[in-house]
Structure formats: structure tokens, C-alpha cells
């Protein structure tokens, strides 16, 4: 509770006690009136005072003015108790609303609190806490278990497990050892780390992400802009209606006095305050953005959140998005597989080619490199060498045919490495980029649960490879053998085919598809943690490379928009209903205040649901 809220609470309690006293004490009417006025002033003087002040600064018709007018009007017509009660109720409502907003704010900001408070620096053999802003490049900082890493850097000493969940939403801790790059915002779990700082505080990951999320609300969604516009026209219309209500009916209907109608029109004005909308809509959007950041999904503005919820077509880049983006041995074929692999590993043991790395990773063991002699790399073909004195050939089909070794035709998709020993074909290894484990599932879910109508894959890769992967994950359309600029053309083509509000999202790793990312309605970069270029070019950033997060992001956007719309319909609906009741003289002022405050609080509570994400 802030100071203002506490003061207001005390006032409300005193006023309540006074009101109870007035109703039970046997005093005459003049004393009663005096007590009512005192109570009214205690609970409402600031409202009246503000109304008067606002009149002088030219801000007529704000809620303070409405409340003052309505309650003083009630006093004038002799309804003292109602006047005091309305003011009291209004203040209780304001207090409740302010508390709810404060609580929501705290929840959101706590959620995003990855800002480190301090850094430990060694000075004269002692650890000193300094502000992260004061640490400069190349300084060595010490991070103890349980502390946040304050700045990006390289581990110089120590080993530990890091909790990266604040950045990635991933709850499995990551290992950090000497020479590893570590990012600010992670929490050190187990060991002491000495880190050499490689980025200043303002350039560090934590600052950048925080900046991004905090500024997200400046890019407003259409729905949000609608609310601002709505408020602009709404107030004058309501005031004109209220004036009509006060003075027109008595002319036409004989039974109604002007006094009655003025009362009704004041009730009408009290109901009309659009607080519920104005507060709950931005809170809802921000809640959604905050909830997403909790899952390692950064959405750069409410406008993108809205576009994401209207996405009907998703275009995927192949490498690194649908696939792992690294070569792996997917198949070995031979009578003696162990021997095949052993020869391949030995022959490739001096190479740094991605294929060599894939083969070595598969074998997982170090072999005695002294067994291998006369290694010769034949460019574009493979390797010839002597292992244990025997001639071996490891490479593509050209290498073997060049040496007149007979070998069978292989139809597997991927890069095929043939192995021959002493002019005799031994077997082959298939190396390919593997499809991500949950890619197929994710795509199915996108279509069945999230109303995505078309999925498309773009790739620069060869046609056979592209279509085999497309089949495996189940995308609707494939465009292969594309140069980077062709990708933009294809996207333009798809964009042209869209009707109405339907949006197109592009998912890539942000490395060489920046133009496509920027051109799409929603550019989603994956695995972007630590890559500034990808974060820069995209509208939605998924920190790790878990493809199922796309589902989460779309789910969450649709849910947030749903909540925001609920609030809009609910608030406007209830308002209009009570406005009619007020105009007809059915609802009195107390009910009016109750409706106003009630709608606001319910809408605020509802918008906080946007913050809740499944974990």
C-alpha cells in the first residue's frame, strides 16, 4: 500500500464510524445535518478540491467533477445520507482499484525482474559490491551461488550450473565451465564463477531484454488505439446526452419535474466514466507480454501480439528452425558397422570439416592417431590414408570410382560417405541434418489447435532433401533451392494472397534471413539468445531453439486478445445497460457508483489472467 492509499483507508474508516454514530445516536436533525457534512468533508474534500482546481485548469467533466456535482446535488435535494454514502462508496472503489492496479503492476514487474542489483569485484583481496553500471570491459567479477550474473562475460575460473529460466523459460540448468560465455540475467546455482566482463551493463543481455519488454507497450495494438479514440469521442457524447436527459423530458412529459431529471442525468454521468476500459486494456496487453517473457518469448509490442493472434499462415526456414541445423550421422550400413565407423573416424581425425565432426561425434571415443599415416585430402571427394598399413578410402562416390572400386547405388537422402578398405567396398555412412524432435508434433498442433491454415517451408537446400524433410514434418508447401532474395519474393507472393486481417508469420534463426524476418507481418527469430542481430530484426524473439514455443506464443496471443476483448465487451455492455437504467430513473446513484467500480475491478482482475502462463 502506498502512502496515498493508507491515508485514504484511514479516511474511509473514520467516515464509516461517524456514519454509524449518526444513525444510532438520538440527535436532532440539525446536528445530524452537521455530522453528515463533517463526514462528507472528511471522506470527500479532496475530490471536491480537485474538481474545483481542475475547473480552473480547463479540465471540465473529469470524474472528480462528476462526483462532486452529483453528491452536492444530492445534499441540495435533502438526501444527505445518499450523498455521503455515494462519496464513501466512490472512495472505497478508488482505493480498491488503486490497490488492484498496484498489485498487477508489481506482479508484472516482478516477473520481468532480471535486472541485477550489484556486481562483486575483488579489491585488495576483498570482495566489494558495486553497481553493475560501474564495471568496465575486461574487469573480473565474482558471482557466488544464488546470485544473478550481472554482466555478460567469459568464465575464467570455476564451474557451475546456471538457471537460465528468466531468459529462456527453460527450467533445466545449463552447465558453465572455463571459457564458456555466460549471459547476464542467469542465476548461478552451484559453484563460484570468476567472469571476465565482455559487455558493458547497458549492452548486456539482461538490460537489452528488459529494455525491449518495457518499451513494448509503446507500440500499440489497434485495439488499444481504438480505446484512446473511443474515450475522445465518448465523453462529449455522454455530456450532451446528460444535458438532454436533464432538460428535454420535463418539456414533453408532464409527470417529471426538472429536479428529478437533473438527478437522473447526474446518475447517468456517474455511470458513464470509462475507467474500466482505459485501465484494463493496457494491463491486459502488458500482462500478455509479461507472461510471454516468462516463457522465454519476447514480444516487441502489443501490435505484434495482436498480429500473432491473427496469424493464419506460418512460413518456416528449414535449417536451424525445423531441423537441428547441424550434421549428424543418421545411418551406418555395413556388415561390420564397428569397423566401418572405426576406419571413418581414424581417417577423418585430422579434419575440421562438418562431416568429420559429425562422424567423430558419433564414435564418441578417441582412437590412437598413430595408426594412421599418409593422410591425403582429395578436394571435393574425400580422404585417402593408410591405417595399420592398409589402404583406406573415405569419401563420396567419385572417390571410389576414381580408384576403380565397385560400390552399390545408394538412394538415402543426405550426404553419403563411402568407406573402402584395400580396394574393397566396406559400407557407407549417411550424414544429414536431423529434423527437430518435436517439429512434427508442433506443426500438427498449430493446425489443429491454433487455427493455422497453411504451413510453408523455404530453403536454399536441394530439392530432394527439402521434400524429404517437408514430408517428415508435414508442411503443406515447399519452396527449395532459393537464394536469400528469392525468399523475400516468395514471401511477397504469399502476403499478396492473404485476405482481410489474416497475417503471415515467418520463423527463422535470424542469421541470414533478416530481410524476410522484417518483411513478414510477424517475424519470429528462434534460438536468438545472445544474437543481437536476430533480436534486432525480429518482432517476436524465442530465446532458445525449442520449436514448440511457437505454439505457446500463438496460444498466448490468442488468449490475451480474448481477455482484452472480453473486457471491452463486458465493460461497454454493463455501462450501456446501467446508462439506460439511469436514464429511465431505475438505477439510483449508489448503484451507479457500484456498477462503475465493480466493472473496473472485475476487468482489472480479468486482465491479470493474461499474465498466468502454463509452466
Amino acid at each position: 500500500m502506498t502512502k496515498k492509499e493508507r491515508k485514504s483507508l484511514i479516511k474511509i474508516i473514520i467516515a464509516m464510524i461517524l456514519l454509524i454514530m449518526v444513525s444510532i445516536l438520538p440527535v436532532n436533525d440539525i446536528v445530524k445535518l452537521g455530522l453528515y457534512i463533517i463526514t462528507y468533508l472528511i471522506v470527500g474534500y479532496d475530490v471536491v478540491w480537485k474538481a474545483i482546481k481542475n475547473l480552473f485548469t480547463g479540465q471540465v467533466f473529469d470524474e472528480h467533477f462528476l462526483m462532486s456535482l452529483a453528491t452536492i446535488g444530492a445534499f441540495a435535494t435533502g438526501e444527505y445520507l445518499e450523498a455521503v454514502l455515494v462519496m464513501l462508496l466512490y472512495q472505497i472503489g478508488e482505493l480498491f482499484q488503486s490497490y488492484a492496479v498496484g498489485k498487477s503492476r508489481r506482479q508484472i514487474t516482478e516477473l520481468m525482474d532480471i535486472r541485477p542489483d550489484y556486481a562483486n569485484i575483488e579489491q585488495d583481496g576483498k570482495l566489494v559490491k558495486v553497481a553493475p553500471e560501474e564495471v568496465s570491459l575486461g574487469d573480473e567479477i565474482v558471482v557466488k551461488p544464488g546470485e544473478k550474473i550481472p554482466l555478460d562475460g567469459i568464465v575464467k575460473d570455476g564451474e557451475s550450473m546456471l538457471d537460465t529460466s528468466a531468459l529462456t523459460g527453460e527450467s533445466v540448468p545449463r552447465k558453465a565451465k572455463i571459457n564458456d560465455t555466460v549471459l547476464s540475467g542467469c542465476i548461478n546455482k552451484t559453484g563460484i564463477l570468476k567472469i571476465e566482463v565482455t559487455k558493458e551493463f547497458s549492452e548486456s543481455t539482461a538490460s537489452k531484454i528488459l529494455d525491449l519488454v518495457e518499451n513494448a507497450s509503446t507500440k500499440k495494438a489497434k485495439t488499444e488505439n481504438f480505446i484512446t479514440k473511443f474515450a475522445r469521442y465518448y465523453t462529449p457524447i455522454v455530456v450532451v446526452l446528460a444535458l438532454c436527459l436533464a432538460f428535454l423530458p420535463p418539456i414533453f412529459i408532464r409527470d417529471l419535474t426538472v429536479l428529478d431529471c437533473v438527478k437522473r442525468s447526474m446518475t447517468f454521468l456517474v455511470i458513464s466514466c470509462p475507467c474500466a476500459l482505459v485501465i484494463s486494456v493496457p494491463l491486459g496487453f502488458f500482462g500478455g507480454i509479461g507472461g510471454a517473457s516468462r516463457q522465454g518469448i519476447l514480444i516487441k509490442g502489443s501490435n505484434y501480439l495482436e498480429a500473432l493472434s491473427n496469424t493464419k499462415t506460418i512460413i518456416f526456414d528449414k535449417t536451424g528452425t525445423l531441423t537441428e541445423g547441424k550434421f549428424q550421422v543418421v545411418k551406418t550400413e555395413s556388415k561390420d558397422k564397428d569397423k566401418l565407423l572405426e576406419i571413418a573416424v581414424l581417417a577423418e581425425s585430422f579434419s575440421s570439416h562438418p562431416i568429420a565432426l559429425a562422424i567423430r561425434e558419433k564414435a564418441k571415443k578417441q582412437l590412437d592417431q598413430k595408426r594412421i599415416k599418409n593422410v591425403k585430402e582429395v578436394a571435393g571427394k574425400g580422404i585417402t590414408a593408410k591405417i595399420d598399413g592398409k589402404e583406406v578410402y573415405v569419401g563420396n562416390i567419385k572417390l571410389l570410382t576414381d580408384h576403380k572400386i565397385e560400390c552399390p547405388e545408394v538412394s538415402d537422402i543426405g550426404t553419403i560417405i563411402y568407406v573402402a578398405l584395400e580396394k574393397e567396398f566396406l559400407g557407407y555412412i549417411v550424414i544429414a541434418d536431423k529434423v527437430k524432435e518435436n517439429a512434427k508434433e508442433t506443426l500438427e498442433e498449430l493446425k489443429h489447435k491454433n487455427h493455422i491454415t497453411t504451413t510453408v517451408m523455404l530453403t536454399g537446400d536441394k530439392k530432394e532433401i527439402a521434400s524429404s524433410i517437408a514430408k517428415e514434418v508435414g508442411v503443406d508447401k515447399v519452396y527449395s533451392e532459393l537464394l536469400p532474395q528469392d525468399k523475400v519474393d516468395k514471401l511477397e507472393m504469399i502476403l499478396k494472397d492473404q485476405v482481410g486481417e489474416n497475417k503471415v508469420a515467418f520463423v527463422g534463426d535470424g542469421i541470414n534471413d533478416a530481410p524476410v524476418l522484417t518483411r513478414a507481418d510477424v517475424g519470429i527469430a528462434m534460438g536468438a539468445l545472445g544474437s543481437d542481430a536476430a533480436i534486432e530484426a525480429s518482432d517476436v524473439v524465442i530465446m532458445d531453439d525449442d520449436i514448440s514455443k511457437i505454439n505457446d506464443a500463438i496460444n498466448l496471443s490468442q488468449r490475451t486478445i480474448r481477455i482484452v476483448k472480453q473486457n471491452i465487451y463486458f465493460a461497454i455492455g454493463i455501462k450501456v445497460f446501467f446508462l439506460i437504467l439511469g436514464a429511465l430513473g431505475v438505477a439510483n446513484m449508489m448503484e451507479a457508483v457500484f456498477a462503475d467500480v465493480g466493472v473496473s475491478v472485475i476487468a482489472i482482475l480479468n486482465s491479470m489472467r493474461a499474465l498466468n502462463v502454463k509452466k
Partner: protein, 72 residues
């Protein structure tokens, strides 16, 4: 120069928009954004006359939103 202030008792998004509009009109202010949820005022200002600009900003804010205070 860039400057960020914390705000207290910023009660509604409409008030935030009102403040933003008012501050925009202060001479020497280049960029202004008032964030309702994080209760922050972000400013880009001319270097010279810094103190007078800030004073003016505080004055216009008091006028449109008497409740809300800019914390230093």
C-alpha cells in the same frame, strides 16, 4: 540526453496519455513516453537548460495530474 524518472500514483492509462501530451509541448523535450504499467517517464532532452526543462515538466504534470508525482 536521455533520462528516466519513476512516477508515483499514476492512476490510469488515460492520465498517462494526458501527461505525455502535456510534456510533449514543453520546449526542449524531444522524445517523451509515459508508461502506465511500469510507472516510468522516459525523456530525451536538450542538454542546455536542463534544470529549467525539468522544472517546467514537473509544473505541467502537476497541472494535468495533480496526484502523480515525478520522483528524482
Amino acid at each position: 540526453m536521455k533520462k528516466v524518472f519513476k512516477l508515483e500514483d499514476l492512476d490510469c492509462a488515460a492520465c498517462a496519455a494526458k501527461m505525455e501530451d502535456a510534456i510533449k509541448k514543453v520546449k526542449g523535450v524531444q522524445v517523451v513516453s509515459v508508461n502506465f504499467v511500469t510507472q516510468r517517464l522516459k525523456l530525451e532532452l536538450d542538454e542546455e537548460n536542463y534544470d529549467t526543462i525539468i522544472k517546467e515538466i514537473k509544473k505541467v504534470c502537476k497541472k494535468v495530474e495533480p496526484d502523480c508525482t515525478i520522483l528524482d
